[in-house]
Symmetry: C2
Subunit: 198 residues, 2 copies
């Protein structure tokens, strides 16, 4: 047994299965935790227990928080007329960091996939349609990833939305700080087509 003890090996194994980690990075993390001041690992583990007990998806939008209705849905200062549809909670958090959107969200939790048998119900699309009337929504922003799966799903949702609603998508173009020489042809073409007055 090279790695210390059964528990240490089990911890390294569990860590190695986390996304983005592998055996080498898990070993490094566990050794660094063991080498730190006693209490730091206990603190991390206590936090984890608390989050495991309290974290749950918002019954309205699917965002993760410790409440049944997440702080964004519960915030009366957020506009109710706009719903921004995202693939994942991570995407919702990314948009929130930008502080540009003041409406509410709808988290799909994935994209449509015939291969993986993921249909509209699995993505909560009927639930989204039900929210439109209940929340008097006038604009739906389809902020899905600019991938084939994301855009296919966006087109499906756009078709399913009732008429008379404003349906928009994120602009495509050169990212801030982007250098043309390093961008793919598709992005350059899209940015050129959507060019605007300087």
């Amino acid at each position: 047994m090279a790695e210390g003890s059964d528990d240490i090996q089990a911890l390294i194994g569990a860590m190695a299965r986390l996304p983005g980690l592998g055996p080498r990075s898990a070993r490094r993390i566990v050794l660094s935790l063991i080498g730190r001041k006693p209490g730091q690992m206990a603190q991390l583990s206590a936090l984890m227990t608390r989050v495991a007990e309290t974290a749950r998806p918002c019954t309205r939008c699917g965002n993760i928080s410790d409440r049944e209705i997440c702080p964004i849905c519960a915030d009366p200062a957020r506009q109710t007329g706009e719903i921004c549809v995202v693939e994942s909670v991570a995407d919702l958090w990314a948009l929130e960091r930008g502080r540009a959107f003041r409406g509410r969200y709808h988290v799909l939790g994935g994209t449509l996939s015939a291969l993986d048998e993921i249909g509209p119900e699995d993505l909560g699309i009927p639930r989204l349609l039900a929210r439109l009337e209940a929340e008097q929504v006038s604009e739906v922003i389809l902020a899905l990833n600019a991938t084939i799966e994301g855009q296919t799903t966006a087109h499906y949702i756009a078709d399913a939305l009732p008429d008379g609603l404003s349906v928009t998508g994120l602009a495509q173009g050169v990212p801030i700080g982007g250098e043309l020489d390093y961008l793919d042809d598709g992005t350059i073409t899209a940015a050129l087509r959507a060019r605007r007055r300087f």
Copy 2:
């Protein structure tokens, strides 16, 4: 508050401070843990608590295990006459995975550094010298990293060791599977100088 709840934010913050992780990868890990079957995160946190309580350095060699004397030092089948000196517990585990060495180890826990005020005592070098007689050591293998700091420390230890002892270092050369075209000049030169009969 973009990231769910105070506890979730604190957990992401603590994760982001682990070696090799940052805010983005920590967020991804925490969201994946929340999204998994309930109980998986609790399991990970329970493992962490147990390791935090039991993991400790071997009083003899510095290896991490859950005992005062680590399984390697306690194993009567391991040769006592050879001590392999390594910089870190991670290096010890890497050597153990190779299964080539059947003696015992001595973990320095770093390298000599005037800048960081790390002297021979901080690295347990006096403790290493004390072990030589107690364990009737005939060979010391200096398996330190092939960096300037590692080799400086190796030279210091070699000078401090008593005469009559066999002191060796790891061979330098082309790594298994290595392509000459991608190797640095120093390694190629070292491999050529230490060439052996085919």
